[in-house]
Structures are given as C-alpha cells and as structure tokens.
Amino acid sequence: MSNQNRKDRERWIRGEPSPEKDDFGRSADRGREELSSAAEARELMQELDLAFTRKIGGLEKGEGNSVGSVGGADAGSTEGSKSNGQGTTVRRLSRLYAVAAAILLLVAAGSWWISTQQTMSNEALFVETFTPYPNELSSRAMGGEDAPAPLSEKLAAASLAYDRRDYAAAATAFADYRSLAPAGSAELAEVSAATTTDLYYGISLLGANKAREAIPVFDRLIAGAPGYRDTASWYRALALLRDEQTEAARQALNDIANLPSSPFAPRANKLLKAFQ
C-alpha cells in the first residue's frame, strides 16, 4: 500500500476528519463516528481486507496492508480473524435473532397486508413499488468477449445519469441522444439498440415524474418490440398509476398478472392487492 493510501486510511481509522471536504469524505467521517474506537475501526478494515482478497483478489500481501498483518497474527486462520472477539460473536448471535424476528414479523406483516384495506395514495404506491430496471447499457461481460459496441458520448452520459438515478438528467440525455440519432440513422438502425434506449428513456421520464410523457414511449415498445413487451408493460402500468389513471393502471396490472409467463406477474399481483 502506498504511503498516502496508508495515511488516509489511518486517518479515518483514528477518526480524524477527511482532508477532502466533499460529500464522500463527509459521509465517511460521519460513518466512522458509528464505531466506538480506533481499534474497532482497524478490526473492521482488517475484516474487509480479508473479504476483498477472498472475493475479488488483487490486494498485495506483506506491503503494509492489513491482509498481511492479519494473516500473520492469526496464523492464516481467516475464520479465527472473523470471530476472534466476543463482541463479534455476540453481534452475530444478535443478528441471527434479528433475522429470525424479522422473518416472523414479515410473515405476520404479510397476513396483515392481505387482511387490511389499503388506502395508500397512488403516488405512495408508486414510490413504494418503483425500482429502476437494471442498466444493461452499462453491463460488462467479464472477459470482454461480448461487450457491447462503444456507446456514443450522449448515450454514455445518459447511462451514467440513469445509474446515478438522476432521472431528470437521464431523460434529457436520452432525448438528446434520440434527437441526434433519428430513426433511420446508422445509430438507430439496429432495432435492439433503439428499443433498449427507448426503454431507459421511458423509465427515466417516469422516474423524473413525467409519467404522462413516458406512457407513449412504453406504448411504442409494447407494440413494436416483443422482447421488451413484459418490461415495458410493467413500467407502463406504473406510469399510469403515477399519472393518477387508477382504473387504467388496475387494468394494465390485471393484464400483467394474468400472464404467468411475465416475470412481473408476481409484482403486479402484489400491487393489485394494495389497490383493494
């Protein structure tokens, strides 16, 4: 580990303020305050180093990072280092109890959910239900064999904003991309590329509270892109919900729920129950 990296980490472990006063530094400083002591912070970093080495690799041993030192101290026993304090064991047991309690509570909550009359507003239901579709525009095939073709600058900016969940910026960037690459152009010649972009454009509009504008985007996808029909139908239903078109949303959800092949059928069923 370089001297600078070690210094930065040590500073954090000791609970001294980060030299960089950005959101990341401030949040990390506040998070450090959740730990009771420098010893606990150091132990946490050692556990992380081991987990990182095991899962991802790439950490050099014996260069001053804690992988080397922990390995030495515990004679290579990773299990030992994971549960070498009574505090850790107690935390784990507490966690088990908490998980068991959470499961029981969830089961009970499920029964309660079904048995009670939900009167949540459409917007509340939407907020509770909406999650962004995984960004396939930026997925990377490890090894790079089937990595997608290079994305244009605009599309890449849109993808980044989508990942950042800045939906307003994503919608604008997707719209820019679409205006620069109108239908029939080389960029949109490939149907799959066009429809993928449309899907994320629609979801970005929906996330940016422009549900009414998102609906026709999803309609076009449902009509013209069989591969995206299920996904577009689900987000269209959410758009109708957010646009306060309650009956149309209910109908759209019923259609999805009655299609057992749709991966969104269980979610549509769950949302329908909340309507009752």
Binding site: R32, F52, E60, E153
Partner: protein, 185 residues
C-alpha cells in the same frame, strides 16, 4: 502502479484485467466506502457486506461507464446501493412495527414511504435529531432491534423508547421535508 491515477488504474483493470489495479483502488477508497455505508446503514456487519457488494459492482460496471472522476462515480454507486438496502430495511421495519405494536407508535406510512430523494438525506437528517431520539431511531429502524432490545441497549425505559421513537420519526420527517425544500430552492 501505486502512483497511477484512478483512471489509469481503471484502464489497467478494464483493458488488461489487472486485478492489482482494483486492489489499489480498494486501498484508496475502501475506508471511504465502508464509512459511507456505516453512515447510511448504522450497522457494522451490514456496512461490511455492503462494501463488498459495492466493490463487486465496481468490477461489473466500471468498464462501461464514461467516468470522469472515479471518486465521484464510486460515491454515487455506493450511496445508491446503501439507499436500496435502507429502503428495504425500513419497509420491513414499518410493516413489522405496524402489526406488532399495540402502542402509541405511529408509522412513517401515515404519510408516505420515504422516497429515494429523502433516503439520500437520511444521514444528515438523523444527525440533526436530539441524541436520544437519534439513538432509538437508529437502533430500531436501521439495526433492527425490538423495542425491548432498544430499551436494554440504551438504558431508557420502554415508555421512553416509544416516546423517543415517536418524536424522532416526526422530527425526522420535518427535517427531511425542510432539507428537500432547501435543496429545491
């Protein structure tokens, strides 16, 4: 390689599958990521797991993003991951507490679920609460303790815990609304 810039390390990882480059990025930012996860999740084990998830996401996503500043990109990636976890956690607690409580405790759902925007501001809003309220809200909602466990951990009696939770939730709402309003101005 230790002296390489973040973007040079990203390039080394993406173009040559150089795992050591990723290791150096972890050495530079691992403490910040786990610090941020602690800030949001308030639970050491959850923060540790979340940190590993974030670095796994890095391996999957970093190569196809037009990253100008790795630090900023990692911040957003980490924060979004923690927000997803928080939303799930709070939702579970809300539902659990609603059916198990025969008490004065009201629910976040009385109004509406916390949106992504509000969840982003949660650590800042929690920091503004009086210490007793913040402690109870963290233990109950974020760590997942029961009322009795919160009472045990804090030394407050059960009635006080419920009162701190009720007031804490209400004040949290107020702070979140205020912060959202300030941000939109």
């Amino acid at each position: 390689m230790q002296s390489a810039t973040d973007l040079e390390l990203v390039a080394a990882f993406c173009e040559q599958d150089e795992r050591r480059a990723l290791g150096i990025l972890y050495q530079r930012y691992g403490h910040l990521v786990v610090g941020l996860c602690l800030d949001y999740l308030k639970d050491r084990e959850a923060a540790k797991d979340a940190t590993m998830d974030v670095f796994e996401k890095v391996t999957l996503k970093v190569c196809n993003q037009p990253i100008e500043t790795f630090r900023a990109w990692l911040f957003y990636t980490s924060r979004n991951h923690c927000i997803d976890l928080l939303r799930k956690k709070i939702r579970e607690r809300e539902r659990g507490s609603e059916i198990s409580s025969d008490t004065i405790v009201e629910s976040f759902d009385v109004e509406r679920p916390l949106s992504e925007e509000r969840l982003t501001m949660l650590p800042d809003a929690l920091a503004k609460l009086p210490a007793e309220q913040a402690r109870c809200v963290k233990l109950f909602y974020l760590v997942g303790k029961s009322y009795n466990e919160v009472a045990e951990a804090t030394g407050y009696d059960l009635k006080k815990v419920k009162s701190y939770l009720q007031n804490g939730r209400r004040n949290l709402r107020i702070h979140l609304e205020k912060m959202a309003h300030e941000q939109s101005e």
